[in-house]
């Protein structure tokens, strides 16, 4: 008997939520989505700033991959997709890319469906009906092998790499031993760790991909920041006791634990392997969360030292503070305090508490970001708009 439950999708994936997602294909119709959100607060509405105005093959690849990734997301039971009509990622271009067998999707376009208010009215009715239909779907026992947990850090402080990320790492190792998948992104925060990570690769091909990913992140950082590239390790980091870029980066990647790295995936790409996965994605929290969610992570642990309240639509985020001060100062926002490791608490005790919380969150308990509606949906772009 499994200790975790969820919703089995027709494609074999497993959701830990049964959300109705209301998403625009393009920012022009965000107002329609916001209006539906006010009418149907139980639906997960995900306005964003993208969908048109960019034409490079890489940007288009990312755009379609991320929008498809959210529609396909295992925590989503049904979708109300709001299009405009003339945008790059129009519903007519997006729908043929989708494999939505068994998932209800209602498609509306403002240019076809009577304008903004009428489209919002139709979307509201569709979202309400979908919520009603999904209510009757029961949770069923699910195996850990179907769970993918993302590990993220942001708003870090000097203790993030010493307490919170160490705690996340111990949870990662536990998950991997259970047969679950763990995914980490943030390639800029892997700079300086090529040897450490490549040594843990499953095979030479994965090792070469790790090296290539980190080399590219380092080159990009140097190209963009020039002389300031060394600020990736900042004076503030050094005041906090971090001495080198390798020390900072290993403190970041430690959140993925110490397991064998089974695959490197591109930004937003679903892995085909189990185990520990690295994603070639950016360090910026919002962009990184979108990439990890589009890859299929059902939930995320997110460590923070300064205290970031941000969450993500469709993917519950469990916030872990690196210190007790922030845990108390932002009690509304932080789920777990890893600062207790500085106060004599044993790592294994904290890990077990985190696993118990993880199980409750999988089984439906809301995280602070879910309670607070702190979702942000933004994703990486490569070239400027035109």
């Amino acid at each position: 008997m499994s200790d975790i439950s969820g919703f089995i999708r027709q494609d074999g994936k497993v959701g830990i939520r049964n959300h109705v997602l209301v998403m625009p294909t393009v920012s022009c119709v965000n107002g329609v989505v916001n209006r539906i959100s006010r009418e149907v607060p139980e639906a997960v509405c995900a306005p964003h700033a993208h969908g048109c105005g960019r034409g490079s093959p890489r940007d288009l690849e990312i755009l379609f991959r991320i929008l498809s990734g959210l529609i396909h997301h295992p925590n989503v039971g049904g979708v109300v997709l709001i299009g405009l009509g003339c945008e790059v990622s129009s519903t007519s271009r997006l729908l043929p890319l989708l494999n939505i067998a068994g998932k209800k999707i209602v498609v509306l376009n403002v240019q076809e469906d009577g304008g903004s208010l009428e489209t919002a009215r139709k979307g509201t009715a569709a979202a309400r009906q979908m919520l009603e239909e999904l209510k009757s779907r029961p949770r069923v026992p699910i195996p850990w092998e179907k769970i993918m947990v993302a590990m993220e850090c942001g708003g870090s402080d000097a203790m993030s790499g010493v307490t919170a990320n160490v705690a996340l790492g111990s949870v990662s190792d536990w998950l991997l031993a259970k047969g679950a998948t763990v995914i980490c992104g943030e390639n800029t925060e892997m700079i300086g760790t090529t040897d450490v990570l490549a040594r843990r690769a499953k095979n030479e091909q994965v090792a070469a991909q790790i090296k290539q990913m980190i080399d590219r992140a380092e080159k990009l950082t140097r190209d963009i920041m020039g002389e300031l590239a060394s600020l990736v390790i900042s004076p503030g980091n050094m005041d906090g006791g971090i001495s080198t870029i390798a020390e900072k980066s290993i403190g970041c990647i430690f959140k993925g634990g110490s397991g064998t790295i089974s695959q490197v995936v591109d930004y937003g790409q679903p892995p085909t392997e189990h185990g520990l996965i690295l994603q070639d994605g950016p360090g910026y929290d919002g962009d990184s969360m979108a990439g990890l969610a589009a890859s299929g992570a059902q939930l995320m642990f997110f460590s923070t030292g300064r205290g970031t309240p941000v969450g993500f639509p469709v993917m519950p985020v469990v916030k872990v503070s690196s210190n007790t001060r922030v845990f108390n100062a932002m009690a509304d926002d932080i789920d777990i305090n890893a600062g207790v490791l500085m106060e004599g608490r044993e790592l294994l005790e904290l890990r077990d508490e985190m696993i118990q919380r993880l199980i409750r969150v999988i089984n439906g308990e809301k995280t602070k970001t879910e309670i607070n509606d702190m979702d942000v949906f933004t994703f990486m772009t490569v070239h400027p708009p035109f």
Binding site: S230, I233, G241, S243, T244, A246, E247, I250
Partner: protein
Amino acid sequence: MIDNILIIHSRDNVGVAVKAIASGEPVVAGGKELFSTLEEIPTSHKVAIRNIEKDEEIIKYGEPVAVSTRKILKGQWVHTHNLESKMWKK
């Protein structure tokens, strides 16, 4: 005794101060007094938990994070004044 450093990995030759430790104050980890500091260790900074030779790797998280530029004694502060990065040297 309440711990005042964290040792992240068993291979590490440095610990991380979880509060400021005065010069000469005992260093405590796992409830045990290990040794006394030879100088002040600021909060969240590293202290050598064994003697480290010149050009020896500084190990934290069980991994090399830097190389020492001089001999560092157990109880000394470990930071940019006595180590160097293997990459991105300024």
